[in-house]
């Protein structure tokens, strides 16, 4: 597919703090709704930054799009100056946005996708879950504790099968998402496993554990990675991660969604 990336100022139509420090921002950007797929991301610059510091745009996964309204959503956590600035923007203000960028999740027609998200990792997975509505697919969501579980409602609205776990057992199963995944995969016949692909996003240790499980069970796995990025668009070669073959892959163009076996874990 040819890239149809756009670089423009987009109007904010909502910026809601859904949990302390966690926001959902909605922008009006019809171009992105028509050309993006789940797992892709955008480079964002808050419009309320007055000077040249912070200098770089920040990468955020596309959380959801609404083609009818031309809306694009981001789910983000305030961790530093860029996200803090973003969190202070109001409806009607603007952000600079470049996107959609990168390789999204690649879901085969006949596959059974299992989505595994931990913490903020649910961000790109909701978009994916929406694309899978009506298909046979399972979503596993995890968090440390109930109050940190994000976006359960919107996931439920997709009608997909949803499994939830919290590390402290305050909601859903007690334990890690990988334990839920392990039990799930253990119950499957080898034939069924051949049709399954895992799509995972979350903290690196979780992704590694997910990939390890997938290797053990012999199922395909795609993961969405994060690195520091300068351009997000293949210009700077700054976003390198080690590949299986000893070379480097670039998260912004070869990823952020990778077939897990391509990577050096």
């Amino acid at each position: 597919m040819e890239n149809r990336r756009i670089n423009k100022q987009a109007k904010i139509v909502g910026n809601v703090e859904i949990r302390p420090g966690i926001f959902v921002m909605t922008i009006l950007c019809p171009e992105i709704t028509t050309s993006s797929s789940a797992g892709q991301f955008c480079m964002i610059r808050p419009g309320n930054i007055q000077g040249l510091d912070p200098l770089l745009r920040r990468p955020l996964s596309i959380h959801l799009t609404d083609q009818e309204k031309g809306h694009v959503q981001f789910l983000y956590r305030v961790v530093g100056r860029g996200t803090r600035a973003l969190s202070r923007q109001l409806e009607g203000e603007f952000i600079e946005v470049l996107g959609p960028l990168g390789r999204g999740f690649q879901v085969g027609e006949d596959e059974i996708p299992i989505l595994v998200g931990g913490g903020l990792g649910v961000a790109p997975l909701l978009f994916l879950a929406r694309q899978l509505v009506g298909r046979r697919a399972i979503v596993i969501l995890g968090a440390i504790t109930k109050s940190q579980l994000l976006r359960l409602e919107p996931f439920r609205e997709t009608g997909l099968e949803i499994l939830v776990s919290t590390e402290d057992g305050s909601f859903g199963n007690q334990g890690l998402v990988t334990e839920v995944l392990d039990r799930l995969l253990s119950r499957l016949e080898d034939e069924a496993k051949a049709n399954v692909t895992i799509f995972s996003c979350g903290p690196y240790p979780m992704l590694r554990a997910v990939y390890h499980l997938c290797s053990v069970h012999g199922v395909r796995c795609e993961v969405s990675l994060e690195t520091t990025m300068a351009c997000g668009s293949g210009l700077c070669l700054g976003c390198a991660v080690k590949a299986k073959d000893g070379g480097y892959l670039h998260v912004c163009k070869d990823g952020p969604c990778f077939r897990a076996e391509e990577l050096a874990w």
């Binding site: 200098l55 351009c231 070669l237």
Partner: protein, 311 residues
């Protein structure tokens, strides 16, 4: 009256002459920040620009440095890409054809570990359709001579220039490192070596420390500082070099908007390159070009050369 004055404000002549290389305007994309051009094709109208300087290539492909490779600093960017590139052959076969097809003015940034490597690169590029000039990056360490960078030793810089110049019939731009006591000395050395033009500055050597992890942030420990933070240093060096050599100077370093670009053109640069700004906003170069034209019209400048401060 007003309409008369308006009529007099005709479109300025943006053409620039960089020795034998004539470009339609002074706005270039800097090496390492615009890939091989194609990466930007859907985002800007590359044809509008004076030229693009492609990512530095070496004789053999290079994998580059271990991550992390980039780190944001106040108004700046530290990078330690480690000159990851496809190598000369792949450049010729896979990258150049697209640039040629799209008739983009292309300057090829080259780097080597020895004078001989630079020479081979120049030979390999000589006579290739689509290559308009060579930009010699002399900021990388001279492994042969024991780690001294070509860019910090006037004799080595002169030698590399001579070798490249002798090995090809292309216009040769030598790109200077700012990590020196006296950049004018190096500029003179490459002018003597036959360079058609100098471009400056490359990045300033810097580093950052991750205080939580208690270790350098970059995989390579050191990195090159670019972006608005370094602009005052770059403007100073362009000013000094433009008053030292007779060959044209291309100004580089922290140019984010048209005002920045004009600082360099007034300081004595004949053209400018946009680097880090393209990473921040792929459209930066086009906005800069538009801004320069508007400024020239507004202030009745009829050519780029007129902007230079003569003292």
């Amino acid at each position: 009256m007003t309409s008369h004055t308006e009529k007099e404000k005709k479109e300025p002549d943006l053409k620039v002459k960089l020795g034998p290389l004539i470009l339609k305007n002074p706005v270039l994309l800097a090496s390492g920040t615009c890939g091989y051009g194609k990466e930007l094709k859907d985002l800007i109208d590359l044809k509008r620009l004076g030229a693009i300087v492609v990512k530095g290539i070496s004789l053999e492909p290079r994998k580059g440095n271990p991550p992390p490779r980039i780190h944001e600093t106040p108004c700046g960017l530290l990078n330690a890409i480690g000159l990851e590139n496809v190598g000369l052959e792949a450049f010729k076969n896979e990258k150049l054809p697209w640039l040629r097809e799209h008739k983009l003015r292309t300057i090829v940034n080259i780097l080597g570990n020895s004078v001989a490597e630079y020479q081979k690169m120049a030979e390999g590029l000589s006579g290739l359709e689509g290559v308009d000039a060579i930009e010699v990056n002399i900021s990388c360490p001279n492994v042969k001579e024991g780690g001294v960078a070509f860019g910090t030793d006037p004799r080595a810089a002169n030698e590399v220039t001579r070798a490249v110049k002798g090995a090809c019939d292309l216009p040769v731009i030598v790109k200077l490192s700012p990590n020196v006591t006296d950049i004018c000395e190096i500029a003179r050395a490459v002018e003597d070596g036959g360079a058609d033009c100098v471009s400056l500055i490359n990045t300033i050597l810097g580093m950052a420390i991750d205080i939580e992890k208690r270790r350098p942030v970059l995989g390579n420990v050191f990195g090159g500082l670019s972006g608005p933070a370094i602009r005052p240093v770059a403007v100073r060096m362009v000013w000094q070099v433009a008053r030292t050599v007779k060959i044209p100077v291309i100004g580089i370093g922290g140019i984010s908007n048209f005002q920045d670009a004009l600082e360099f053109l007034m300081a004595g640069a004949s053209a400018i390159q946009v680097g880090t700004a393209t990473l921040v906003d792929p459209g930066a170069s086009e906005k800069i070009l538009t801004g320069i034209v508007d400024f020239m019209v507004r202030n009745n400048y009829s050519s780029i050369g007129e902007l230079k401060i003569r003292d």
